[in-house]
Symmetry: none
Subunit: 281 residues, 2 copies
């Protein structure tokens, strides 16, 4: 158990000298690092023997052992991956930023672990061999779809991201064997997307899904299932975190694609050059 937890637990049953030491430890743990038992006693205003007794009361052999425990506790505290608690109304801006950050870190890590390497390989392989590609998503996912389409276009791939549900359906109805649909829907139940997927399957086209983990209409029908986020966060953050996870998935796909094809890299380079050239004038 952390020394601090221990101290807090015993805090009530301590006598006045001990309480002084306990409070000092909790408030200025850092300072203890550089203090001997005598110095600590002086700073806190108790006798040196009280310091030793306090250490022993906490279960340590003596003062040096206590000191080490405090240092350890400080280290654990700072290296802990920071729990990403819910953002509440009373949070300060600094706390909000901190929590959003750790939530994102958690979501990214989870998303990475959720997707098997083999699934990504399959997805890359489908992408490379696809004749035409339709990336569909609605609402927030539409932007992810659009982003992915831009990226694929940079690689010279025939990818289209259409934000309108009806247009998506119209396009996919012309699909055939060799064409590919990438269906992005966090819930996996979006009616329009599910419909597109159904149609794609009917036309013998391949489907890659990007949804939350588990069974759902979109993923169930997909040839390759990719996943975004694992845990449901607070409602307020959910769409933000879903986006974060979806972005990660398509970023991985994109990098893996450029990785696996020399031609793709060349085209990407060229595309970047052209845009850069243009911007500088």
């Amino acid at each position: 158990m952390s020394t601090f937890v221990k101290i807090k637990a015993l805090r009530q049953s301590l006598s006045s000298s001990e309480a002084k030491l306990a409070d000092f430890t909790l408030n200025s743990a850092n300072a203890i690092r550089n203090l001997s038992s005598v110095e600590l006693a002086k700073v806190v205003g108790v006798s040196q023997s009280s310091v030793v007794k306090f250490s022993q009361k906490l279960g340590y052999k003596g003062f040096p052992a206590f000191k080490l425990a405090v240092i350890d506790a400080l280290n654990d505290e700072t290296s802990e991956p920071k729990l990403h608690g819910k953002i509440t109304l009373s949070d300060s801006l600094e706390q909000i930023a901190e929590k959003l950050l750790s939530s994102k870190l958690a979501v990214l890590t989870e998303t990475k672990n959720l997707n098997e390497t083999v699934a990504i390989e399959q997805a890359v392989s489908l992408l490379k061999s696809a004749k035409r590609i339709l990336i569909c998503g609605l609402g927030g996912s539409a932007l992810v779809a659009k982003d992915f389409s831009y990226k694929l276009q940079k690689l010279g791939m025939p990818a289209i991201a259409e934000p309108d549900g009806h247009a998506q359906l119209a396009y996919v109805s012309t699909f055939a064997k060799g064409d590919l649909v990438i269906a992005i829907s966090e819930s996996g139940v979006t009616r329009e997307i599910a419909e597109v997927v159904k149609q794609a399957k009917k036309n013998d086209s391949y489907v890659i899904s990007v949804t939350k983990f588990g069974s759902n209409p979109v993923a169930d029908r997909a040839n390759v299932r990719l996943y975004s986020v694992a845990e449901e966060e607070s409602v307020r953050l959910s769409s933000i975190l879903a986006r974060t996870a979806q972005d990660f998935v398509i970023d991985i796909l994109f990098i893996a694609l450029t990785q696996s094809s020399r031609q793709g890299r060349k085209l990407l380079e060229h595309s970047n050059d052209v845009v850069g050239e243009f911007r500088n004038h």
Copy 2:
């Protein structure tokens, strides 16, 4: 400098007793934790005074100081946030994912640290009091702009994100005092965006910039400067990481906005309900 690095650097110039201690420290650093100078001397097979002299040769006041340094070095070693090396052609898919993940983690952390709380507060305040809002960005940033506009619209705010440069300029030319431009451009030199900012300033409108850190045409003219990423990564990753950072910035702004207004939260809730209702039929 880490104690271990120090030891390795001096390793050659050490005498036999000192070398014994150095090797033991490098190989069994963990053990030192529980040893006194006498015990360590015994284990290694040297005299206690040699232990002390060794500690001092490394630059520490004495043995206890050396011991603390070793413990610190061990802690730093284990909690190091995994260096996010460049992705190379020979990387496996698993390595790619790992590196992308750590790069994103680093970029998010940096972005959070780069933005002062007070700047975010000012941005929020400008957003809340703005009569009209134009969010402009080109290329990849256009998607970030669009995303932010959707979010602001959910809060009932008059935000427009227009991907076309000319249309942006046309709109901003009608701006006046009380209107707000949010200019998103990683480089901060995009001609079209800089032009919009110039026009906005001429019309006495406020400008919030989201660019890389440092002086650039867009940020220099802004009333409030927000920053994305700090370090330039590999060219291949740069646009991906820029997006990651920009998303973080607008996510923070969005959350801070909902945080600061009861009405905003109500509208957001309602908006989510309506869309959810619609999707389920």
